[in-house]
Subunit: 157 residues, 2 copies
Amino acid sequence: MKAKSYAEMQCSIARTLEHVGSWWSLLIIRDAMMGARRFKDFEKSLGIAKNTLTNRLTKLVDIGIFEKVAVSENSAFEEYVLTKQGRDLAPVMIALAQWGDKWVPHEQGPSTEIIDADAGRKLSRIWPRRQDGEIIPLRKIRMKRAKGAPKKVWEEA
Amino acid sequence: MKAKSYAEMQCSIARTLEHVGSWWSLLIIRDAMMGARRFKDFEKSLGIAKNTLTNRLTKLVDIGIFEKVAVSENSAFEEYVLTKQGRDLAPVMIALAQWGDKWVPHEQGPSTEIIDADAGRKLSRIWPRRQDGEIIPLRKIRMKRAKGAPKKVWEEA
DNA sequence: AGTAATTGGTTTCATAATGCAACTAAAAAT
DNA sequence: ATTTTTAGTTGCATTATGAAACCAATTACT
């Protein structure tokens, strides 16, 4: 659920989750990345309630992650297509999928594969790198509030 | 909210979200990555209700993302520390933060900074690469169900 | 040592979000 | 012309969250 908004938090992650962090939203986007377009596609694939799906899709269109496009010249139906903004969530999806494969393996294998079409094989782990491609080890990475952002409670004193 | 589980879906992303996709969970983990440890730290930083925080932390401990550790030799209090599994969510956090900075900028700037401690500057965009470091363009990336996973509804016919 | 404040909860109740089933109008297929 | 599909909407039951009060144990203060 969600009754309280993250929108006013001074945090880039919170603001992203405000847009795509609701239950179902990321799975809707995942399905779109795997080829779903029509309302019924998402509904049947996810087993989500129709009213909830309507709410999610409407919001995702509002914030610019999907756009509604006519199915064809001569059809009155519309389908939901990811915008550039939506497609740009790919690194998030890849990171989520790879974490799941590593830490929550399923008896029946990965079951979602993310492929490099040129090399024809699974992507290697997505990980921060320096410009030259060198991998940055976790211990060298610091997450901190930006200058000007309010002090965290545990930083007082 | 969340009333229906993703656990049985044949999808790596769904299984990850089943663990960390509930409202608040990723923000709790973010706070931990930024230095929060004590119950009160999370509570005050997030403004989350105590019962909800208790539920989330208990679950996150159960599934191995946090562990409870004595604050010190002579203290009876415990604090919540990320496990290796939890720290391994770093790429997810980085991807979320960078997407937010790009698409949902805040008047007052990024407000969450992720730094390469050696280079002393912000991380460049996390993105899938080939082993040699070459960036893989989005159009070369395919997400698909693995062999054996059930066909997607839009693939029928 | 005795008292006050903090911590980490639990419990209760109101509210908000979701799940489900029934219903509907428009479009498409037969 | 009729049936089926699609994309919803509506209403109700259930579940999750938010807020406040309450509580026992621990820690800090005097």
